[in-house]
Amino acid sequence: MDINQFVQDFADCFDDTDASEFTPELNFKQLEEWSSLSGLGIIAMCKKKCGIKITGAEIMEADTIKDVYDLVMSKAN
C-alpha cells in the first residue's frame, strides 16, 4: 500500500475532521476529534487493510500518520 492510500484510509477512521486536513505529516493526536476510540479505529484499519497488528501503545508513541505507516510497513516486511 502506498502512503497516499494509507492516509486516505486513516482519514476514514475519523468522522468530523475534514479529509483535506490529513497529510502524512499530520500530528493526528492533536486533532480535536482524537480519542482512544479513534485509536481502535486505526488498529482495525491496519488489521483489515494491511493484515498487520499494531498496539495502542505503538499508536501512542507515534506522532504523525507517516510514523504509523512506517510502523506498519516495517511489520509487513
Binding site: 482512544s36 488498529i43 482495525a44 497488528k53 498496539t55 495502542g56
Partner: protein
C-alpha cells in the same frame, strides 16, 4: 440426550445512569459523542447495598413468573459472576435458599466474564447429556459498577449491571449444538482488578491518571482497551469459523449472529472484518450497556421478542481471562 434452552428472562436494577448524567459529571469530556460511538444511551447500576445475589434472585423469579415453569423441577443451579456476595459461601447456595429450590439440587458458582454465558451453556449441556441433571437454572449476575473508580468515565460509559436466568432442559425452543472454547491467560493483566482477593489482600492505593485523565488504579477495574480490542479482532473470526465447522455448517447457513455486546464500535468492526450482513447481526445494548456475562442472554431475549430466533443462531462470548467460547443454537 439433547439439551435445549427452555426459557430466558432478565432483570435490570432500578437505578439508571443516562448519558446526560455522565455529561453532568464530566463536562470536560465529550461523553455524549463517545456514548454515541459505543452505542449506549443509558445503563442500569445496582445500589450500594445491592449485590449479585439480589439481582440474580430477581432474574430467576422473573423467569419462573414469565415462563410458568415450576421451580421445583430445578435440579442444578449454575451462577456465573465475578462479583460474588462473599468469598464463601458460594452465592449459588444462597440462591437455592432464597428461591426456595429443592435441597436435592446441585449448586455452584463459576467465575467468568464476557464468555460466561457460553461456558454456562456448555456446563449445562454436560450435566444434562450425562444424566446428572434434567433442569439446570443458569444465572448470570454481574455488578462491575462496584469495581469502577468513580472518575473512570470510559468504563462507566460502556458497562451496565444486570442479571439473567436461563432454564436449560431436555426440551425447549433452542437446541444447544456443538461448542468451540478457548483460553489464553497471557491476557490476564489487560482486564483485571488486582487487589482485594488473596494475591493482594490490601489495597495498593496507587492511583495515577493517564494522558486522557482516566484514573489508573490497582484497586479498581483496569481495562487496556486497545489490547482487548486486538485480542477480539484476532480471536473472534477464528472462533466463529471453528463453531461453523464443528457444526457442519457454512457461513450462509447461519441465520443470526449474537455476539457478546462489548460495545457497538467493536461489534461494527467485527461485522465489517468478517463481512457479516447487517440483517444477520443482532445488536441490543443501547438501553443496557455492556452487561458482561449477561449481554448474550439479554440479546437472545430481545431477539426472541422480535421473532428473530429462527434457524441456526451463532452465539460467541469473549473477554476477561482471556476466555472465549461459541456455539450454535438451533432454534425452532
Amino acid at each position: 440426550m439433547a439439551s435445549f434452552i427452555k426459557a430466558i428472562s432478565y432483570h435490570l436494577p432500578e437505578a439508571v445512569v443516562s448519558n446526560e448524567d455522565l455529561v453532568g459529571e464530566f463536562p470536560e469530556w465529550s461523553v455524549d459523542k463517545i456514548a454515541k460511538k459505543v452505542g449506549v444511551n443509558q445503563r442500569h447500576v445496582v445500589s450500594k447495598d445491592q449485590c449479585a445475589s439480589d439481582i440474580a434472585e430477581q432474574a430467576a423469579r422473573k423467569l419462573f413468573a414469565e415462563s410458568g415453569i415450576d421451580k421445583s423441577c430445578v435440579d442444578f443451579v449454575l451462577l456465573c459472576t465475578q462479583s460474588p456476595d462473599y468469598f464463601l459461601p458460594t452465592t449459588a447456595c444462597l440462591l437455592q435458599e432464597r428461591l426456595g429450590l429443592s435441597t436435592h439440587c446441585g449448586a455452584l458458582d463459576f467465575n467468568l466474564g464476557c464468555s460466561g454465558f457460553v461456558y454456562g451453556l456448555a456446563l449445562s449441556k454436560g450435566l444434562i447429556d450425562s444424566g446428572i441433571a434434567k433442569n439446570v437454572l443458569l444465572i448470570t449476575a454481574e455488578t462491575y459498577s462496584k469495581h469502577f473508580h468513580h472518575l473512570d468515565k470510559g468504563n462507566r460509559t460502556i458497562f451496565g449491571d444486570a442479571a439473567t436466568a436461563t432454564l436449560v432442559s431436555t426440551e425447549g425452543f433452542a437446541e444447544i449444538k456443538e461448542f468451540d472454547l478457548g483460553t489464553d491467560g497471557t491476557g490476564a493483566n489487560n482486564l483485571i482488578v488486582k487487589s482485594g482477593a488473596m494475591r493482594h489482600r490490601e489495597k495498593f492505593e496507587d492511583i495515577s491518571f493517564d494522558k486522557s485523565g482516566n484514573p489508573l488504579s490497582s484497586d479498581h477495574l483496569y481495562m487496556n482497551g486497545s489490547e482487548i480490542f486486538n485480542f477480539t479482532l484476532e480471536t473472534v473470526p477464528e472462533l466463529v469459523g471453528n463453531v461453523i465447522e464443528k457444526n457442519g455448517l457454512n457461513n450462509d447457513s447461519v441465520d443470526l449472529y449474537v455476539f457478546h455486546q462489548a460495545n457497538k464500535y467493536m461489534l461494527d468492526c467485527l461485522f465489517d472484518l468478517m463481512e457479516i450482513e447487517e440483517e444477520k447481526a443482532f445488536v441490543y445494548m443501547s438501553e443496557v450497556g455492556n452487561t458482561v456475562s449477561s449481554t448474550i442472554p439479554i440479546a437472545l431475549c430481545e431477539a426472541k421478542k422480535e421473532h428473530k430466533l429462527v434457524g441456526n443462531v451463532l452465539i460467541a462470548g469473549f473477554g476477561v481471562g482471556y476466555s472465549w467460547g461459541g456455539c450454535i443454537l438451533n432454534c425452532k
